[in-house]
Symmetry: D2
Subunit: 152 residues, 4 copies
């Protein structure tokens, strides 16, 4: 995984939290029209989200070990270009601040070779206890996380 140096400054208070990760297209992710199957991008978004989580301390296991899961309740993908076998994509994952008890991310996926914008997407996650209760207010660990990154 590589992250652009530009990220370094993006983590300062107030600036948006963004991560960048390279993902190599798998042969098995390409469909019979020889382009990445539209459903495969859902995995790239998850790669981006997990990379963001590692970078900013809110990965899946952090949420899970705090007693919660964060299921995706809304996912919107818009396809601009296609990529194929041998291509590498760059997944840019940006945290979208919100007052509600949700995790919202915006994504831009670029083709590495020519930096063409391939896909834009948004996902919304909610917090649930392991017993399955929806959390209407932010879990304590998430409040702390927001404070840590100066997110209002």
């Amino acid at each position: 995984m590589k992250r652009g140096d530009s990220n370094m400054k993006l983590t300062c208070g107030g600036d948006p939290l963004v991560s960048r990760i390279e993902v190599k297209v798998r042969f098995s992710e390409v469909d019979s029209i020889r382009v990445v199957w539209h459903g495969s991008y859902v995995k790239y978004l998850e790669d981006g989200r997990e990379d963001f989580g590692e970078r900013f301390g809110i990965e899946y296991m952090t949420i899970f070990n705090n007693g919660y899961t964060a299921p995706v309740v809304d996912m919107h993908l818009q396809y601009k270009q296609s990529v194929t076998v041998g291509d590498t994509v760059i997944v840019e994952t940006k945290y979208v601040p919100t007052l509600s008890a949700k995790l919202i991310f915006e994504y831009n996926i670029f083709r590495k070779e020519d930096n063409a914008l391939v896909l834009t997407a948004t996902t919304t996650q909610v917090f649930m206890t392991k017993s399955g209760e929806l959390q209407l207010s932010n879990p304590p660990f998430f409040e702390e996380w927001k404070k840590r990154w100066n997110i209002g």
Copy 2:
């Protein structure tokens, strides 16, 4: 595959074109929280779309054999409930009429056991020639298809 008898009347002119198909959840589609992984639903939507295509004569191979592909350019999923191993879902796929050269479908996915609404979704496809040119007007075969089903 089973289709509700109710579909029989839905194919008359003017009525919306709808298909229904049962899909059994695969063990491999369930994630570590023991519910169907959010990305797996993209396959169920494709099952629904293909079932619709078989029922109304516009499946993937029909489009392909007419010299076109119909890539998904927009996909929006909204998750209402979760399903798990052993569950069967019913994918309801409805054609949404549009004047533009697009294929738009709306989906409702229900849990078979209790008929609970599990997911709603919308997909938009465009038509491209095999050489990759976007079609801004309806391909002839699609015009005929619309006439056949009395779609304005």
Copy 3:
């Protein structure tokens, strides 16, 4: 799902336990050479195993509810022919009797259209407790299952 009538007699004591299920190839399971990606067959084997389980009362949930999991420890696939989008395959799953505490299945996958043999495979599963201990002797529920089907 359809099962050949021939199965009816195959369930009598002494005869091999076999199930048959039809699986329609998914667009997303086909690779860029326009044939089903070799890894997709692993899902068809799981479909066959689960169909066998439902038919003979030893599906995944039965094992799980008895306090065990049955992880695959050995899987061998041999590819004879290819199938593609629009094809339907028939997965034939046969239980292979063994004295050791294992679940062994042999599979034949046929192309429905011409009944051509597409793939043969064998899988071996062991029994583990949910805490992860390997079972060297048959779990009680499995002993009962064997008796029920007159398996020595």
Copy 4:
């Protein structure tokens, strides 16, 4: 992708051709027992094979651009341990010399954290023309490739 320095010497004539690549387990690759689903390893093997191809000049696209495909005709996986979300595996891919017109690879997959052996596998590929004819003798480009690496 990282490759052990040890590889440096492994490319000399006579020595086995081996590549090593790290693959991070995806959330979507883990099943409901919270371990990597047995079918997901097929993708890791493909990652290993593709990494080998890039390292030694025989990746998928090289084969394809020379007018051939190399479908997997035999795949045997033996599972030793399990890995889960957050784990990284190391896929070691070794070329197995053979006189027949085949590509045979042996794989060892290790858990990065403790270097435990997780899986061993073997795959066999044949060469086919794009029109689907099986090649019983080595394609010219493959003969050259063998010479280049001093493979008898």
